[in-house]
Amino acid sequence: MVRLQSEAFDPGALLSGFCQGREETGAVVSFTGIARGGAGAVTRLELEAYPGFTDAEIERIADAARTRFSLHDVLIVHRIGEIAPGEAIVFVATAAAHRREAFEAADHLMDYLKSRAPFWKREHGPDGARWIEPTEQDRSDAARWD
């Protein structure tokens, strides 16, 4: 399931729900991305999605990952709107029979989300605002799975 939401969320509550009632899932991996304050350089993050497009794109990647890594389940929750340092931006959880698939799927989904998912992100700080683009590292991380 893929969810974009402007409300803050508790990654632990998401993980609890995701782990429930799994008798044949051996491995659950979660990734939580947290907005960093950069020691005061960033006061807030602004994240925009194109509703109906961004979620459909992510859903497509999640479906492909489900097949590629034999996942039992996958959950992606992404914040949009204004995000304060210390708040969770993204939560990805993957469930599989064995740990290798669960780790690789979560790793892969995060590489995709960080470099190719259709979001527009701006950092606000004491010196004004700036648009963020994926780093070279983000791009080469994502290319590992192509």
Partner: protein, 81 residues
């Protein structure tokens, strides 16, 4: 009439995020030309590397005919999540 949406930097350049364009331009390129004629800076920004277009929420490469009521989005280079 088509609905035009701007995302990312493009919005800063244009000063708007959404508008209606009437009458319906025949094609995507015709729409771009019309926006550029009204706002040179936006025209340049739309032509910049990495800017993509989506028609009715599907990415489009090259030109494409536009139907009345279409939703056309111009997407600045994406930031990732």
């Amino acid at each position: 009439m088509v609905r035009v949406l701007l995302f990312g930097r493009l919005r800063d350049v244009a000063g708007w995020r959404e508008r209606l364009v009437d009458p319906t331009p025949a094609t995507l390129f015709a729409l771009k030309n019309r926006l550029a004629a009204e706002d040179l800076a936006l025209g340049e920004a739309l032509a910049a590397a990495g800017v993509q277009a989506a028609v009715d929420r599907a990415l489009v490469r090259g030109d494409i005919a536009l139907a009345a009521g279409a939703e056309v989005a111009f997407l600045s280079p994406m930031s990732g999540g």
